[in-house]
């Protein structure tokens, strides 16, 4: 009895000791891994290493392989037996282990960077760029990816990182070929409900006064409606902050306006004051939604989805989820049309030619085991055949072809394409959003996807929408806005990278904090208090190191003019 007891304690002790060893062992392993990662990250030319280390470079190109992917947007994972993923696997041997964003992006990135724990492929991000988490791609593209090389040829300089001249991220949007067709407008505008326009006899407001006049008249008849809506939540502050630059005839450059290649903030300028004073007035008239500045994004969308909001200033993509909900409720008359309002004398520049999102797309991480295979895969995907499959779908299933070679969809195919559950099984929407893609038209004249094929677009509209468009004598929604001017070389200024922790970034952040705090205050103040609040706001802005911010943007503009110009 005594002996057994002793033996069992000894066994226990041994066990715990083993556990302890295992624990320490694990931890030292991890540190080693982390070290090798950082070492790799610090290396100036990991691409060369990557080239050597890739077994598949000379082997079978279609051998089964699984890439881990991180995409910085929430979304739904395609179903297991997704048609497109199956096809990709069949034709290229590639399958994915995709991680979509859950929760806060910055937090997720922080954890990834701290642990050096990167998947093979990551969507582009400034923070990851700063952490040197991507490998340079230009050599890989030159060697293994002729199609990508061709695709990006016109913007080759532009997609290089400003700091060291390497290409880290393959941009997903903004590279056009053929003709640019864009029937739905996604950018900024002053929006009004179609039902409102219909009842008021299809007016076309051109100034703030005309616009709010429509809202006032409609609300007088329908007191239940919410007049003008706005949003001031988290990073989605542009519905409140960006209107002045558009009213004054500037394109969307973010927090600055640029004249003659010289950037300055506009938050404290008269173009801002005029706009917010107007909002202050309409708030006094009870036209402004009282809760606009205390609500979160979900509440904002819920309000739009309720069909009670007459109008707002926003970017279309930002409230589109609300519209989608309206459409699914069958309340198509409560969806919106955007108008380009202007100050007297200003020249319209709401629509812009989407610039290449230099750091929005896909990059290959320093942890990727086989970068060559990845770049070869992406190179395959940018061919027209694959693009048609990814964007339009599969011929005969998702679209049909007319005798003259133009693609179209049957009503049934259109209905399918609108359904989320169908999309999850038949498209790879989220992932494709980050992939290099053809925009504009293919060499056979078809638009890149069903949404931009003009005839297909008009045919796909509900009769109500067709009626409204006919009343305005237009064919597409974007025709409410002027054709975009040629972009400045530097465009857009908001994509100029502000270094983490720099004075410029700090100033920008503090400026944003002031706007978030003072603009609602100014708008909700009683009209005779407006001047005081505004003065206080402007004084506080001038206490910040705004010059650091402006200088950094101007420096970026100069760099772009030098480096991006096609020589």
């Amino acid at each position: 009895m005594h002996k057994t007891a002793k033996r069992s304690t000894r066994a226990l002790a041994a066990g715990t000791f083993a556990l302890a060893l295992a624990l320490t062992g694990c931890s030292s392993n991890n540190t080693n891994n982390a070290n090798s990662n950082t070492a790799n990250g610090g290396n100036a030319s990991p691409a060369a290493n990557a080239g050597n280390a890739s077994p598949a470079a000379n082997g079978d190109d279609n051998a089964p392989v699984t890439f881990s992917v991180f995409l910085a947007s929430p979304g739904q994972t395609p179903t297991e037996d997704n048609k497109i993923l199956k096809l990709i696997k069949e034709k290229t041997g590639v399958s994915f282990k995709t991680e979509l964003l859950v929760g806060d992006l910055q937090q997720k990135l922080g954890v990834m960077i701290a642990g050096g724990d990167y998947p093979d492929i990551m969507s582009g991000d400034d923070k990851l760029l700063n952490a040197k988490a991507y490998i340079p791609l230009e050599d890989l593209i030159e060697k293994y990816a002729p199609n990508l090389k061709k695709h990006y040829a016109a913007v080759w300089n532009q997609i290089k990182d400003e700091t060291d001249g390497h290409i880290y991220v393959l941009p997903s949007y903004g590279v056009y070929q053929g003709k640019i067709t864009e029937p739905t407008y996604q950018g900024p505008g002053f929006w009004l409900q179609k039902a409102v326009l219909e009842e008021m006899g299809y007016p076309t407001p051109k100034t703030l006064d005309e616009y709010f006049d429509i809202i006032a008249k409609y609300k007088a008849k329908h007191p239940d409606m919410i007049g003008f809506e706005s949003l001031n939540f988290d990073w989605r502050v542009f519905p409140l902050q960006n209107a002045p630059e558009h009213l004054a005839g500037h394109p969307n450059d973010g927090g600055v306006i640029v004249d003659n290649n010289k950037a300055q903030i506009f938050a404290d300028k008269d173009i801002s004051k005029t706009y917010y004073k107007k909002l202050n007035e309409i708030n006094a008239q009870g036209l402004m939604d009282k809760e606009a500045f205390v609500q979160n994004y979900d509440q904002y969308l819920a309000k739009i989805a309720s069909g009670k909001v007459i109008g707002m200033f926003d970017q279309h993509w930002n409230f589109q989820d609300g519209e989608t909900s309206l459409i699914s409720q069958g309340k198509i008359e409560n969806t919106y049309i955007g108008f380009p309002l202007l100050y007297p004398g200003a020249e319209e520049w709401y629509r812009d030619r989407g610039a290449v999102g230099t750091n929005r797309g896909l990059g290959i991480s320093i942890n990727a085991k086989d970068p060559v295979r990845i770049i070869k895969f992406l190179d395959q995907m940018i061919t027209e055949d694959w693009q048609k499959t990814l964007q339009w779908g599969i011929k005969g299933e998702d679209y049909e072809v007319k005798e003259d070679g133009m693609f179209y969809r049957t009503p049934e195919q259109r209905a399918n394409a609108d359904q989320t559950s169908w999309q999850l099984a038949n498209k790879i929407t989220t992932m494709f959003g980050y992939m290099p893609k053809i925009q504009g038209t293919y060499s056979d004249g078809n638009a890149a996807d069903a949404g931009t094929q003009p005839q297909e677009f008009f045919d796909s509209l509900k009769p109500y929408d067709q009626k409204i468009l006919k009343a305005y004598n237009k064919k597409t929604w974007s025709e409410f806005f002027k054709e975009p001017k040629e972009n400045y070389i530097y465009f857009p200024a908001y994509s100029i990278v502000l270094k983490d922790g720099s004075a410029a970034k700090l100033a920008q952040s503090k400026l944003n904090d002031l706007q978030v705090k003072y603009l609602p205050k100014a708008i909700m103040a009683s009209p005779d208090e407006f001047e005081g609040v505004w003065q206080d706001y402007v004084d506080r802005i001038h206490k910040l190191d705004i010059k650091a911010y402006e200088d950094r943007i101007n420096e970026g503009i100069q760099q772009r003019i030098e480096n991006w110009s096609v020589k």
């Binding site: 002790a13 000791f17 302890a20 009282k290 500045f293 706007q515 978030v516």
Partner: protein
């Protein structure tokens, strides 16, 4: 009390001969170590666990004295001394968030404790088991909601459109028109306090109820014999009976006085209330993590830790001087 002191003196006298540490009461010789080797072995994994997860990360505190850039090797980091701390304490926003943090924490602490003890006392008096259980279940269920959902519920009930709070106040004719609760800084702390009570009161009650059940029933009988009524029994038996629990919990909570919370303030706060709603944690996320300034975030973290440790020791010392139970 004096008995205990006497006991201790006797013990020390006895042990002096055997060279025993008076505090631990056990001799620290190799012989005893050997005798207790099983115990020592069993504590090794715990010690290793603590070293790896609770002490090794302290190495990261060095970050606070650097201008830390991720992925750079340690040797190449730039050392900046106390610059991060200087930035913290010279920044007026930080002073504001410090005030908010302490205020909201204090409100939560007082409201949370008072309501929890109150509910525990009341529940203890209820003799109908079924009713008692229902009340308890209902009051602690919100604890299991995440703050995201809870904040949604709070925001909805405070809404001016058809929020229940405004509806009730209107029906009671306490207010003439709906109040925008979330747009005024002066309401914010109160809303946070009330939300915390709503969500956590049932949970906090459990521990006090447990403490109450451990009170010797004969004390109540004796009190009854002496003619004590219900409230007198609560006042003179139950409350002193849970005093030790209360003090220990208070000391532990004081260590968290700089953790006023993050989620609720982040989710309910907005531009209009930012001067009252921002806490240290939000500040750290905004100016530290989100801007890639990990050094600043670490500096704020160190500040929080040091203040917390000091507060715990002060509370502990006071408890000791007052002759109460204490933590250390």
């Amino acid at each position: 009390m004096s008995d205990a002191v006497l006991d201790k003196q006797v013990k020390t006298q006895k042990t002096r001969k055997r060279r025993v540490d008076p505090e631990i009461g056990v001799s620290l010789s190799w012989k005893t170590l050997k005798m207790q080797k099983q115990l020592i072995f069993m504590s090794v994994p715990i010690a290793i666990y603590l070293i790896i997860f609770n002490y090794a990360p302290i190495w990261g505190w060095l970050m606070a004295f650097q201008n830390y850039r991720p992925a750079l090797p340690f040797g190449k980091q730039e050392w900046v001394g106390l610059q991060q701390f200087q930035f913290l304490f010279s920044d007026e926003t930080f002073m504001m968030v410090l005030r908010n943090t302490i205020a909201m924490s204090f409100i939560n602490l007082v409201l949370g404790t008072v309501t929890a003890i109150g509910l525990a006392l009341l529940l203890n008096e209820i003799k109908a088991k079924f009713f008692k259980r229902i009340v308890q279940s209902i009051s602690y269920l919100p604890h299991f909601l995440s703050w995201v959902i809870a904040a949604g519920i709070v925001a909805t009930s405070l809404s001016i459109d058809d929020g229940i709070v405004n509806i009730i106040l209107m029906k009671l004719h306490l207010i003439k028109e709906p109040i925008m609760w979330l747009s005024e800084g002066k309401y914010f702390w109160g809303i946070i306090g009330a939300s915390n009570v709503w969500k956590e009161v049932g949970w906090g009650t459990i521990i006090y109820l447990a403490a109450i059940t451990s009170i010797d029933p004969s004390l109540y009988e004796a009190a009854s014999m002496d003619g004590a009524k219900r409230f007198q029994k609560m006042r003179y038996v139950t409350l002193p009976g849970i005093k030790a629990t209360f003090v220990i919990l208070l000391i532990m909570n004081i260590g968290h006085i700089l953790d006023a919370g993050f989620e609720l303030q982040y989710l309910l706060g907005n531009g209009l209330t930012v001067d009252w709603s921002q806490t240290i944690d939000i500040f750290v996320v905004k100016y530290g993590i989100a801007m890639g300034n990990y050094s600043l975030a670490t500096a704020a973290g160190i500040f929080k830790t040091i203040v917390s440790v000091i507060l715990v020791f002060i509370a502990n010392y006071i408890a000791k001087r007052l002759g109460e139970e204490r933590l250390v």
